[in-house]
Protein backbone atom coordinates (compact mmCIF):
# COMPACT_ATOMS: atom_id res chain seq x y z
CA UNK A 1 0.00 0.00 0.00
CA UNK A 2 1.21 3.47 -0.69
CA UNK A 3 0.18 6.84 0.46
CA UNK A 4 -2.32 8.19 -1.98
CA UNK A 5 -1.51 11.79 -2.61
CA UNK A 6 -4.56 13.96 -2.44
CA UNK A 7 -5.03 17.08 -4.44
CA UNK A 8 -5.74 19.67 -1.72
CA UNK A 9 -3.45 22.32 -0.48
CA UNK A 10 -1.41 20.20 1.82
CA UNK A 11 1.10 18.53 -0.39
CA UNK A 12 4.74 17.77 -0.03
CA UNK A 13 5.52 20.07 -2.99
CA UNK A 14 4.06 22.98 -1.07
CA UNK A 15 6.86 22.66 1.40
CA UNK A 16 9.54 22.34 -1.19
CA UNK A 17 10.26 26.05 -1.46
CA UNK A 18 10.74 26.17 2.29
CA UNK A 19 13.45 23.59 1.91
CA UNK A 20 15.02 25.65 -0.81
CA UNK A 21 14.91 28.70 1.35
CA UNK A 22 16.44 26.79 4.18
CA UNK A 23 19.35 25.76 2.01
CA UNK A 24 19.68 29.30 0.84
CA UNK A 25 19.71 30.65 4.38
CA UNK A 26 22.23 28.11 5.55
CA UNK A 27 24.41 28.92 2.61
CA UNK A 28 24.20 32.59 3.37
CA UNK A 29 25.03 32.17 7.02
CA UNK A 30 27.94 29.83 6.43
CA UNK A 31 29.42 31.98 3.70
CA UNK A 32 29.16 35.06 5.83
CA UNK A 33 30.82 33.29 8.72
CA UNK A 34 33.73 32.18 6.59
CA UNK A 35 34.08 35.52 4.89
CA UNK A 36 34.28 37.44 8.13
CA UNK A 37 36.59 34.88 9.58
CA UNK A 38 38.84 35.29 6.62
CA UNK A 39 38.64 39.07 6.46
CA UNK A 40 39.05 39.94 10.08
CA UNK A 41 42.47 40.50 11.66
CA UNK A 42 43.80 37.89 14.05
CA UNK A 43 45.84 39.19 16.90
CA UNK A 44 45.01 37.05 19.87
CA UNK A 45 46.24 37.85 23.35
CA UNK A 46 45.40 36.21 26.62
CA UNK A 47 43.51 39.20 27.93
CA UNK A 48 41.44 39.36 24.83
CA UNK A 49 40.49 35.74 25.06
CA UNK A 50 39.48 35.94 28.68
CA UNK A 51 35.89 36.41 29.64
CA UNK A 52 34.67 39.94 29.77
CA UNK A 53 33.39 40.95 33.15
CA UNK A 54 33.56 44.70 33.00
CA UNK A 55 37.18 44.64 33.90
CA UNK A 56 36.70 42.65 37.07
CA UNK A 57 38.53 39.38 37.19
CA UNK A 58 36.08 36.63 36.46
CA UNK A 59 35.76 33.85 38.97
CA UNK A 60 35.49 30.26 37.92
CA UNK A 61 33.03 28.67 35.65
CA UNK A 62 29.86 30.51 34.83
CA UNK A 63 27.81 27.39 34.59
CA UNK A 64 26.58 27.29 38.10
CA UNK A 65 23.09 26.16 38.88
CA UNK A 66 20.81 29.12 38.47
CA UNK A 67 17.58 30.03 40.18
CA UNK A 68 15.00 27.28 39.88
CA UNK A 69 12.50 29.89 38.75
CA UNK A 70 13.82 29.85 35.23
CA UNK A 71 13.51 26.14 35.08
CA UNK A 72 10.01 26.36 36.40
CA UNK A 73 9.06 28.83 33.72
CA UNK A 74 10.47 26.55 31.07
CA UNK A 75 8.51 23.58 32.38
CA UNK A 76 5.33 25.56 32.65
CA UNK A 77 5.85 26.81 29.15
CA UNK A 78 6.15 23.28 27.84
CA UNK A 79 2.93 22.25 29.52
CA UNK A 80 0.90 25.30 28.66
CA UNK A 81 2.22 25.58 25.18
CA UNK A 82 1.08 22.10 24.38
CA UNK A 83 -2.31 22.97 25.74
CA UNK A 84 -2.40 26.12 23.64
CA UNK A 85 -1.40 24.22 20.56
CA UNK A 86 -4.43 22.03 21.13
CA UNK A 87 -6.67 25.02 20.76
CA UNK A 88 -5.51 25.50 17.21
CA UNK A 89 -7.25 22.55 15.60
CA UNK A 90 -10.34 23.51 17.48
CA UNK A 91 -10.12 27.11 16.36
CA UNK A 92 -9.79 26.07 12.76
CA UNK A 93 -12.86 23.84 12.95
CA UNK A 94 -14.63 26.10 15.37
CA UNK A 95 -17.69 26.94 13.26
CA UNK A 96 -18.21 23.34 12.21
CA UNK A 97 -18.16 22.02 15.76
CA UNK A 98 -20.75 24.46 17.06
CA UNK A 99 -21.90 24.56 20.65
CA UNK A 100 -21.05 20.94 21.37
CA UNK A 101 -17.45 21.56 20.52
CA UNK A 102 -17.59 24.78 22.47
CA UNK A 103 -18.55 23.06 25.68
CA UNK A 104 -15.95 20.37 25.18
CA UNK A 105 -13.33 23.04 24.70
CA UNK A 106 -14.64 24.95 27.68
CA UNK A 107 -13.85 21.86 29.69
CA UNK A 108 -10.37 21.93 28.29
CA UNK A 109 -10.10 25.63 29.05
CA UNK A 110 -11.18 24.95 32.58
CA UNK A 111 -8.34 22.44 32.95
CA UNK A 112 -6.04 25.10 31.65
CA UNK A 113 -7.40 27.66 34.06
CA UNK A 114 -7.31 25.28 37.01
CA UNK A 115 -3.70 24.50 36.33
CA UNK A 116 -2.98 28.15 35.78
CA UNK A 117 -4.51 29.27 39.05
CA UNK A 118 -2.89 26.43 40.87
CA UNK A 119 0.58 27.44 39.81
CA UNK A 120 -0.15 31.06 40.61
CA UNK A 121 -1.46 30.15 44.05
CA UNK A 122 1.53 27.94 44.65
CA UNK A 123 3.75 30.89 43.94
CA UNK A 124 5.43 29.39 40.94
CA UNK A 125 5.22 32.73 39.19
CA UNK A 126 6.30 34.86 42.08
CA UNK A 127 9.33 36.77 40.93
CA UNK A 128 9.49 39.45 43.57
CA UNK A 129 10.98 37.76 46.60
Amino acid sequence: MTLLVEPPLNNATNYFPIGVQFLFAIGFVVVMMFVTHWLGPKRKTGDKLANFASGIESHGDARHPVAIKYFLVAILFVLFDVEVIFFYPYAVNFKMLGWGGFWAVMMFVSFFVIGFFYIIKKGALQWED
Binding site: I114, Y118, K121, K122
Partner: protein
Protein backbone atom coordinates in the same frame (compact mmCIF):
# COMPACT_ATOMS: atom_id res chain seq x y z
CA UNK B 1 -17.20 6.73 34.42
CA UNK B 2 -18.01 7.94 37.91
CA UNK B 3 -14.71 6.84 39.32
CA UNK B 4 -12.63 8.30 36.53
CA UNK B 5 -14.22 11.71 36.65
CA UNK B 6 -14.63 11.95 40.37
CA UNK B 7 -11.08 10.91 41.06
CA UNK B 8 -9.88 13.63 38.73
CA UNK B 9 -12.20 16.15 40.32
CA UNK B 10 -11.22 15.19 43.80
CA UNK B 11 -7.61 15.39 42.81
CA UNK B 12 -8.23 18.97 41.80
CA UNK B 13 -10.10 19.59 45.03
CA UNK B 14 -7.12 18.32 46.96
CA UNK B 15 -4.88 20.46 44.81
CA UNK B 16 -6.66 23.59 45.86
CA UNK B 17 -7.06 22.45 49.40
CA UNK B 18 -3.30 22.53 49.57
CA UNK B 19 -3.56 26.26 48.97
CA UNK B 20 -6.59 26.93 51.10
CA UNK B 21 -6.14 24.60 54.05
CA UNK B 22 -3.28 25.36 56.35
CA UNK B 23 -3.60 22.41 58.71
CA UNK B 24 -1.37 19.61 57.48
CA UNK B 25 -3.31 16.92 59.30
CA UNK B 26 -6.55 17.77 57.55
CA UNK B 27 -5.41 16.55 54.16
CA UNK B 28 -5.61 12.90 54.93
CA UNK B 29 -9.13 13.34 56.20
CA UNK B 30 -10.11 15.14 53.04
CA UNK B 31 -8.48 12.39 51.02
CA UNK B 32 -10.22 9.67 52.98
CA UNK B 33 -13.51 11.42 52.49
CA UNK B 34 -12.81 11.67 48.80
CA UNK B 35 -12.00 8.01 48.59
CA UNK B 36 -15.22 7.17 50.36
CA UNK B 37 -17.15 9.28 47.90
CA UNK B 38 -15.26 7.63 45.08
CA UNK B 39 -16.01 4.18 46.39
CA UNK B 40 -19.67 4.97 46.82
CA UNK B 41 -19.85 6.44 43.34
CA UNK B 42 -18.12 3.48 41.83
CA UNK B 43 -20.38 0.99 43.54
CA UNK B 44 -23.26 3.11 42.39
CA UNK B 45 -21.89 2.89 38.89
CA UNK B 46 -21.62 -0.86 39.17
CA UNK B 47 -25.30 -1.15 39.96
CA UNK B 48 -26.46 1.10 37.19
CA UNK B 49 -26.68 4.81 37.70
CA UNK B 50 -23.77 6.69 36.26
CA UNK B 51 -23.64 10.36 37.12
CA UNK B 52 -21.78 11.27 34.00
CA UNK B 53 -23.51 9.91 30.92
CA UNK B 54 -20.71 10.76 28.57
CA UNK B 55 -20.45 9.22 25.16
CA UNK B 56 -17.00 7.72 25.12
CA UNK B 57 -17.35 6.53 21.52
CA UNK B 58 -16.61 3.05 22.75
CA UNK B 59 -13.17 4.07 23.84
CA UNK B 60 -13.98 3.04 27.35
CA UNK B 61 -16.21 0.16 28.15
CA UNK B 62 -17.46 -0.32 31.65
CA UNK B 63 -18.04 -3.92 32.45
CA UNK B 64 -18.51 -5.49 35.83
CA UNK B 65 -14.94 -6.75 35.75
CA UNK B 66 -13.42 -3.32 35.47
CA UNK B 67 -15.84 -1.67 37.83
CA UNK B 68 -15.30 -4.31 40.40
CA UNK B 69 -11.58 -3.90 40.12
CA UNK B 70 -12.07 -0.17 40.58
CA UNK B 71 -13.89 -0.90 43.80
CA UNK B 72 -11.04 -3.07 44.98
CA UNK B 73 -8.47 -0.48 44.05
CA UNK B 74 -10.34 2.38 45.66
CA UNK B 75 -11.08 0.41 48.79
CA UNK B 76 -7.44 -0.64 49.04
CA UNK B 77 -6.37 2.95 48.63
CA UNK B 78 -8.79 3.97 51.32
CA UNK B 79 -7.30 1.41 53.66
CA UNK B 80 -3.86 2.57 52.62
CA UNK B 81 -4.68 6.18 53.41
CA UNK B 82 -6.31 5.29 56.70
CA UNK B 83 -3.41 3.17 57.85
CA UNK B 84 -0.49 5.07 56.42
CA UNK B 85 -1.92 8.56 56.10
CA UNK B 86 0.27 9.87 58.86
CA UNK B 87 3.34 8.47 57.22
CA UNK B 88 2.48 10.22 54.00
CA UNK B 89 2.67 13.44 55.96
CA UNK B 90 6.20 12.55 56.93
CA UNK B 91 7.32 11.83 53.40
CA UNK B 92 7.94 15.43 52.49
CA UNK B 93 6.65 18.93 52.65
CA UNK B 94 4.00 18.80 49.94
CA UNK B 95 1.50 16.69 51.78
CA UNK B 96 -1.61 17.64 49.90
CA UNK B 97 0.13 17.14 46.59
CA UNK B 98 0.91 13.56 47.45
CA UNK B 99 -2.75 12.91 47.94
CA UNK B 100 -3.47 14.73 44.72
CA UNK B 101 -1.11 12.47 42.90
CA UNK B 102 -2.65 9.42 44.51
CA UNK B 103 -6.01 10.50 43.22
CA UNK B 104 -4.62 11.00 39.77
CA UNK B 105 -3.07 7.58 39.89
CA UNK B 106 -6.46 6.22 40.78
CA UNK B 107 -7.87 7.99 37.77
CA UNK B 108 -5.34 6.15 35.66
CA UNK B 109 -6.23 2.90 37.36
CA UNK B 110 -9.88 3.39 36.55
CA UNK B 111 -9.08 4.10 32.93
CA UNK B 112 -6.92 1.03 32.71
CA UNK B 113 -9.66 -1.15 34.05
CA UNK B 114 -12.10 -0.06 31.39
CA UNK B 115 -10.13 0.77 28.29
CA UNK B 116 -11.38 -0.50 25.01
CA UNK B 117 -8.92 1.13 22.69
CA UNK B 118 -5.17 1.26 22.73
CA UNK B 119 -5.34 5.02 23.05
CA UNK B 120 -6.99 4.70 26.41
CA UNK B 121 -4.54 2.02 27.42
CA UNK B 122 -1.71 4.38 26.67
CA UNK B 123 -3.34 7.29 28.45
CA UNK B 124 -4.26 5.21 31.44
CA UNK B 125 -0.75 3.94 31.83
CA UNK B 126 0.70 7.38 31.55
CA UNK B 127 -1.78 8.97 33.92
CA UNK B 128 -0.86 6.26 36.30
CA UNK B 129 2.89 6.42 35.81
CA UNK B 130 3.67 10.10 35.75
CA UNK B 131 2.39 10.86 39.25
CA UNK B 132 4.31 7.85 40.44
CA UNK B 133 7.58 9.24 39.15
CA UNK B 134 6.97 12.23 41.36
CA UNK B 135 5.89 10.20 44.36
CA UNK B 136 8.99 8.07 44.02
CA UNK B 137 11.19 11.13 44.15
CA UNK B 138 9.20 12.90 46.81
CA UNK B 139 11.95 12.60 49.37
CA UNK B 140 13.93 15.31 47.68
CA UNK B 141 16.97 15.41 49.90
CA UNK B 142 17.42 11.67 49.92
CA UNK B 143 19.76 10.47 47.24
CA UNK B 144 18.18 7.04 47.12
CA UNK B 145 14.83 8.53 46.46
CA UNK B 146 16.30 10.68 43.72
CA UNK B 147 17.94 7.74 42.09
CA UNK B 148 14.83 5.68 42.31
CA UNK B 149 12.79 8.43 40.72
CA UNK B 150 15.26 8.91 37.91
CA UNK B 151 15.54 5.23 37.27
CA UNK B 152 11.82 4.71 37.40
CA UNK B 153 11.28 7.64 35.14
CA UNK B 154 13.82 6.58 32.55
CA UNK B 155 12.70 2.98 32.54
CA UNK B 156 9.05 3.95 32.57
CA UNK B 157 9.27 6.28 29.66
CA UNK B 158 11.48 3.88 27.79
CA UNK B 159 8.87 1.21 28.11
CA UNK B 160 6.26 3.73 27.09
CA UNK B 161 8.21 4.29 23.94
CA UNK B 162 8.26 0.59 23.26
CA UNK B 163 4.59 0.31 23.95
CA UNK B 164 3.83 3.14 21.59
CA UNK B 165 5.85 1.49 18.88
CA UNK B 166 3.82 -1.62 19.46
CA UNK B 167 0.60 0.29 19.24
CA UNK B 168 1.70 2.00 16.06
CA UNK B 169 2.61 -1.28 14.44
CA UNK B 170 -0.63 -2.92 15.47
CA UNK B 171 -2.43 0.07 14.07
CA UNK B 172 -0.49 -0.26 10.87
CA UNK B 173 -1.51 -3.85 10.60
CA UNK B 174 -5.15 -3.59 11.56
CA UNK B 175 -6.13 -0.01 10.88
CA UNK B 176 -7.72 0.51 14.22
CA UNK B 177 -7.02 0.95 17.87
CA UNK B 178 -10.23 -0.72 18.99
CA UNK B 179 -9.65 -3.96 20.78
CA UNK B 180 -12.48 -5.75 18.97
CA UNK B 181 -11.14 -4.85 15.59
CA UNK B 182 -7.68 -5.97 16.50
CA UNK B 183 -9.02 -9.22 17.82
CA UNK B 184 -11.14 -9.86 14.77
CA UNK B 185 -8.23 -9.15 12.50
CA UNK B 186 -6.14 -11.56 14.46
CA UNK B 187 -8.93 -14.06 14.24
CA UNK B 188 -9.60 -13.73 10.54
CA UNK B 189 -6.17 -13.67 9.00
CA UNK B 190 -4.71 -16.91 7.85
CA UNK B 191 -1.33 -15.71 8.84
CA UNK B 192 -1.15 -12.45 10.67
CA UNK B 193 1.18 -9.97 9.13
CA UNK B 194 4.59 -9.08 10.38
CA UNK B 195 3.35 -5.72 11.61
CA UNK B 196 0.77 -7.02 13.98
CA UNK B 197 2.86 -9.74 15.47
CA UNK B 198 5.79 -7.41 16.00
CA UNK B 199 3.46 -4.84 17.41
CA UNK B 200 1.95 -7.27 19.81
CA UNK B 201 5.38 -8.45 20.88
CA UNK B 202 6.37 -4.86 21.56
CA UNK B 203 3.22 -4.44 23.59
CA UNK B 204 4.02 -7.57 25.49
CA UNK B 205 7.49 -6.32 26.32
CA UNK B 206 6.17 -2.96 27.40
CA UNK B 207 3.52 -4.45 29.61
CA UNK B 208 6.08 -6.76 31.12
CA UNK B 209 8.10 -3.68 31.91
CA UNK B 210 5.15 -2.06 33.57
CA UNK B 211 4.21 -5.02 35.70
CA UNK B 212 7.88 -5.82 36.31
CA UNK B 213 7.86 -9.30 34.87
CA UNK B 214 11.24 -10.83 34.17
CA UNK B 215 13.36 -10.23 32.19
CA UNK B 216 12.16 -6.63 32.36
CA UNK B 217 11.96 -6.43 36.10
CA UNK B 218 15.40 -5.04 36.88
CA UNK B 219 14.19 -1.56 37.74
CA UNK B 220 11.69 -2.75 40.30
CA UNK B 221 13.77 -3.56 43.36
CA UNK B 222 15.78 -0.39 43.18
CA UNK B 223 12.75 1.76 42.66
CA UNK B 224 10.71 0.11 45.37
CA UNK B 225 13.63 0.28 47.70
CA UNK B 226 14.53 3.85 46.97
CA UNK B 227 11.08 5.32 47.04
CA UNK B 228 9.71 6.44 50.39
CA UNK B 229 8.30 3.28 51.91
CA UNK B 230 4.82 4.65 52.15
CA UNK B 231 4.65 5.15 48.42
CA UNK B 232 6.31 1.85 47.72
CA UNK B 233 3.35 0.33 49.44
CA UNK B 234 1.00 2.07 47.06
CA UNK B 235 3.11 1.37 44.00
CA UNK B 236 3.66 -2.27 44.69
CA UNK B 237 0.01 -3.00 45.25
CA UNK B 238 -2.74 -1.06 43.59
CA UNK B 239 -0.69 0.21 40.75
CA UNK B 240 0.79 -3.13 39.97
CA UNK B 241 -2.58 -4.82 40.12
CA UNK B 242 -3.95 -2.24 37.73
CA UNK B 243 -1.13 -3.03 35.38
CA UNK B 244 -2.16 -6.63 35.43
CA UNK B 245 -5.78 -5.84 34.80
CA UNK B 246 -4.76 -3.85 31.76
CA UNK B 247 -2.43 -6.60 30.66
CA UNK B 248 -5.23 -9.11 30.91
CA UNK B 249 -7.67 -6.97 29.00
CA UNK B 250 -5.13 -6.37 26.30
CA UNK B 251 -4.12 -9.96 25.79
CA UNK B 252 -7.57 -11.36 25.97
CA UNK B 253 -8.17 -14.88 24.81
CA UNK B 254 -8.79 -14.22 21.21
CA UNK B 255 -5.64 -12.29 20.60
CA UNK B 256 -3.35 -14.83 22.06
CA UNK B 257 -5.00 -18.00 20.91
CA UNK B 258 -5.66 -17.45 17.27
CA UNK B 259 -2.34 -16.14 16.14
CA UNK B 260 -0.09 -18.92 15.18
CA UNK B 261 2.96 -16.90 14.28
CA UNK B 262 4.16 -16.80 17.84
CA UNK B 263 3.72 -19.44 20.43
CA UNK B 264 2.21 -17.11 22.97
CA UNK B 265 1.64 -19.81 25.52
CA UNK B 266 5.28 -20.76 25.41
CA UNK B 267 6.32 -17.14 25.58
CA UNK B 268 4.22 -16.51 28.65
CA UNK B 269 5.47 -19.71 30.09
CA UNK B 270 9.07 -18.53 29.83
CA UNK B 271 8.20 -15.14 31.26
CA UNK B 272 6.35 -16.65 34.17
CA UNK B 273 9.02 -19.13 35.05
CA UNK B 274 11.80 -16.60 34.86
CA UNK B 275 9.81 -14.07 36.86
CA UNK B 276 9.14 -16.58 39.57
CA UNK B 277 12.71 -17.73 39.53
CA UNK B 278 14.30 -14.32 39.75
CA UNK B 279 11.78 -12.86 42.15
CA UNK B 280 11.93 -15.68 44.60
CA UNK B 281 15.58 -16.51 44.49
CA UNK B 282 16.74 -12.95 44.93
CA UNK B 283 14.19 -12.26 47.63
CA UNK B 284 15.73 -15.03 49.64
CA UNK B 285 19.02 -13.19 49.89
CA UNK B 286 17.75 -9.81 51.00
CA UNK B 287 18.60 -8.31 54.33
CA UNK B 288 16.08 -5.51 54.32
CA UNK B 289 12.43 -6.33 54.65
CA UNK B 290 11.57 -3.51 52.32
CA UNK B 291 13.82 -4.86 49.65
CA UNK B 292 12.59 -8.36 50.26
CA UNK B 293 9.07 -7.11 49.67
CA UNK B 294 10.26 -5.49 46.47
CA UNK B 295 11.56 -8.78 45.16
CA UNK B 296 8.61 -10.67 46.50
CA UNK B 297 6.40 -8.33 44.53
CA UNK B 298 8.18 -9.57 41.44
CA UNK B 299 7.52 -13.10 42.56
CA UNK B 300 3.89 -12.31 43.15
CA UNK B 301 3.78 -10.79 39.70
CA UNK B 302 4.87 -14.16 38.43
CA UNK B 303 1.83 -15.69 40.00
CA UNK B 304 -0.46 -13.06 38.60
CA UNK B 305 0.98 -13.79 35.19
CA UNK B 306 -0.61 -17.21 35.39
CA UNK B 307 -3.86 -15.42 34.70
CA UNK B 308 -2.41 -14.10 31.48
CA UNK B 309 -1.24 -17.49 30.53
CA UNK B 310 -4.60 -19.14 30.91
CA UNK B 311 -7.02 -16.33 30.07
CA UNK B 312 -10.18 -18.07 31.18
CA UNK B 313 -12.91 -17.17 33.63
CA UNK B 314 -10.90 -18.53 36.52
CA UNK B 315 -8.09 -16.26 35.48
CA UNK B 316 -10.30 -13.20 35.47
CA UNK B 317 -11.95 -13.89 38.79
CA UNK B 318 -8.68 -15.04 40.23
CA UNK B 319 -6.85 -11.91 39.16
CA UNK B 320 -9.41 -9.82 40.96
CA UNK B 321 -9.09 -11.91 44.05
CA UNK B 322 -5.33 -11.89 43.75
CA UNK B 323 -5.28 -8.16 43.35
CA UNK B 324 -7.38 -7.73 46.45
CA UNK B 325 -5.57 -10.27 48.56
CA UNK B 326 -2.12 -9.16 47.54
CA UNK B 327 -2.88 -5.48 47.86
CA UNK B 328 -4.47 -5.73 51.25
CA UNK B 329 -1.75 -7.90 52.68
CA UNK B 330 1.06 -5.80 51.28
CA UNK B 331 -0.52 -2.57 52.40
CA UNK B 332 -0.81 -4.05 55.84
CA UNK B 333 2.79 -5.16 55.94
CA UNK B 334 4.03 -1.84 54.75
CA UNK B 335 1.86 -0.02 57.27
CA UNK B 336 3.58 -1.99 60.00
CA UNK B 337 6.97 -1.69 58.36
CA UNK B 338 6.59 2.07 58.38
CA UNK B 339 6.22 1.98 62.12
CA UNK B 340 9.47 0.09 62.51
CA UNK B 341 12.63 1.93 63.30
CA UNK B 342 14.76 -0.56 61.44
CA UNK B 343 13.74 -2.01 58.12
CA UNK B 344 16.03 -5.03 58.25
CA UNK B 345 14.94 -8.45 59.39
CA UNK B 346 16.77 -7.90 62.65
CA UNK B 347 14.63 -4.86 63.22
CA UNK B 348 11.66 -7.13 63.60
CA UNK B 349 13.32 -9.26 66.24
CA UNK B 350 11.14 -9.59 69.25
CA UNK B 351 8.27 -7.55 67.91
CA UNK B 352 5.81 -10.12 69.21
CA UNK B 353 6.75 -9.30 72.76
CA UNK B 354 6.55 -5.57 72.38
CA UNK B 355 3.57 -5.33 70.05
CA UNK B 356 1.73 -8.64 70.08
CA UNK B 357 -1.19 -7.34 68.08
CA UNK B 358 0.95 -5.87 65.32
CA UNK B 359 2.99 -9.03 65.18
CA UNK B 360 -0.11 -11.19 64.94
CA UNK B 361 -1.60 -9.04 62.21
CA UNK B 362 1.68 -8.99 60.38
CA UNK B 363 1.77 -12.76 60.58
CA UNK B 364 -1.62 -12.94 58.96
CA UNK B 365 -0.44 -10.66 56.16
CA UNK B 366 2.69 -12.68 55.62
CA UNK B 367 0.82 -15.94 55.65
CA UNK B 368 -1.54 -14.48 53.10
CA UNK B 369 1.34 -13.53 50.86
CA UNK B 370 2.78 -17.00 51.25
CA UNK B 371 -0.58 -18.44 50.29
CA UNK B 372 -1.38 -20.41 53.39
CA UNK B 373 -5.01 -21.47 53.77
CA UNK B 374 -7.35 -19.50 55.96
CA UNK B 375 -6.01 -16.33 54.38
CA UNK B 376 -7.11 -14.61 51.24
CA UNK B 377 -3.76 -15.31 49.68
CA UNK B 378 -4.50 -18.98 49.54
CA UNK B 379 -7.54 -18.59 47.37
CA UNK B 380 -5.73 -16.07 45.25
CA UNK B 381 -3.03 -18.58 44.48
CA UNK B 382 -5.62 -21.29 44.23
CA UNK B 383 -7.46 -19.46 41.49
CA UNK B 384 -4.27 -18.80 39.59
CA UNK B 385 -3.23 -22.44 39.67
CA UNK B 386 -6.76 -23.57 38.90
CA UNK B 387 -6.92 -21.35 35.84
CA UNK B 388 -3.82 -22.93 34.40
CA UNK B 389 -4.93 -26.44 35.23
CA UNK B 390 -8.23 -25.69 33.58
CA UNK B 391 -6.64 -24.67 30.30
CA UNK B 392 -5.00 -28.06 30.20
CA UNK B 393 -1.45 -28.88 29.30
CA UNK B 394 1.48 -27.14 30.91
CA UNK B 395 0.70 -28.71 34.24
CA UNK B 396 4.42 -28.92 34.83
CA UNK B 397 4.40 -25.14 34.95
CA UNK B 398 1.93 -25.26 37.80
CA UNK B 399 4.23 -27.60 39.60
CA UNK B 400 7.11 -25.23 39.09
CA UNK B 401 4.96 -22.39 40.34
CA UNK B 402 4.12 -24.39 43.39
CA UNK B 403 7.77 -25.08 44.06
CA UNK B 404 8.44 -21.39 44.02
CA UNK B 405 5.52 -20.78 46.32
CA UNK B 406 7.29 -23.01 48.78
CA UNK B 407 10.47 -21.01 48.29
CA UNK B 408 8.55 -17.84 48.93
CA UNK B 409 7.48 -19.22 52.28
CA UNK B 410 11.12 -19.06 53.26
CA UNK B 411 11.50 -15.32 53.16
CA UNK B 412 8.04 -14.54 54.45
CA UNK B 413 8.62 -16.81 57.37
CA UNK B 414 11.89 -15.14 58.12
CA UNK B 415 9.91 -12.14 59.26
CA UNK B 416 7.64 -14.31 61.35
CA UNK B 417 10.64 -16.03 62.85
CA UNK B 418 12.17 -12.70 63.67
CA UNK B 419 9.03 -11.41 65.28
CA UNK B 420 8.23 -14.42 67.36
CA UNK B 421 11.22 -16.61 67.90
CA UNK B 422 14.12 -14.26 68.12
CA UNK B 423 15.05 -11.99 70.93
CA UNK B 424 15.35 -8.34 70.28
CA UNK B 425 13.98 -4.94 70.90
CA UNK B 426 11.48 -4.78 68.05
CA UNK B 427 11.68 -1.03 68.24
CA UNK B 428 8.76 0.83 66.76
CA UNK B 429 7.57 4.35 66.49
CA UNK B 430 4.68 5.47 68.59
CA UNK B 431 1.73 3.31 67.56
CA UNK B 432 -1.71 4.70 68.11
CA UNK B 433 -4.65 2.65 69.25
CA UNK B 434 -6.64 3.39 66.12
CA UNK B 435 -3.78 2.14 64.01
CA UNK B 436 -3.78 -1.12 65.89
CA UNK B 437 -7.49 -1.51 65.44
CA UNK B 438 -7.14 -0.73 61.76
CA UNK B 439 -4.45 -3.32 61.27
CA UNK B 440 -6.41 -5.88 63.21
CA UNK B 441 -9.48 -5.23 61.12
CA UNK B 442 -7.47 -5.58 57.96
CA UNK B 443 -6.13 -8.90 59.18
CA UNK B 444 -9.65 -9.94 59.97
CA UNK B 445 -10.71 -8.99 56.48
CA UNK B 446 -7.97 -11.11 55.00
CA UNK B 447 -9.03 -14.08 57.07
CA UNK B 448 -12.64 -13.50 56.08
CA UNK B 449 -11.70 -13.61 52.42
CA UNK B 450 -9.62 -16.64 53.20
CA UNK B 451 -12.60 -18.52 54.51
CA UNK B 452 -15.24 -17.08 52.28
CA UNK B 453 -13.74 -15.82 49.04
CA UNK B 454 -17.15 -15.35 47.58
CA UNK B 455 -17.72 -12.60 50.11
CA UNK B 456 -15.55 -10.68 47.70
CA UNK B 457 -16.21 -12.36 44.41
CA UNK B 458 -19.98 -12.45 44.69
CA UNK B 459 -19.93 -8.75 44.04
CA UNK B 460 -18.48 -9.51 40.70
CA UNK B 461 -21.53 -11.53 39.76
CA UNK B 462 -24.15 -9.26 41.24
Amino acid sequence: MNAIILSAIWGVVMMFSSVLVKNKGAFRHIAALGLLVLLAANICDSYGPSFFPINTHDMLRFDSFGLFFNSIAIASTLIFVLLSGKDIEKAGSYVAEYFVLIFFVLCGVCILSSFNTLLMLFLGIEILSIPLYILTGSDKRNLKSNEAALKYFLMGSFSTGIMLMGIALVYGGTGSFQLEVIRSVFGSYKGVSFLEVTGLLFLLVAMCFKVSAAPFHFWTPDVYDGAPAVFTSFMATIVKAAGFIAFLKLFDARVADTSTAVNWKMLFCIIIISTLLIGNITAVFQQSVKRMLAYSSIAQAGFMLFALFSLNDFAREGLLLYAAAYSLATIGIFAILLKMKDYTFEGFNGLAKKQPLLAAANTVFLLSLAGIPLTAGFFAKYYMLASVVKTGGYTWMVVVGVLFAAVSAYYYFRVIQAMYFKDGEGRTEEVSGSFKIGVALLAGLIILFGIQPQALLNWFYF
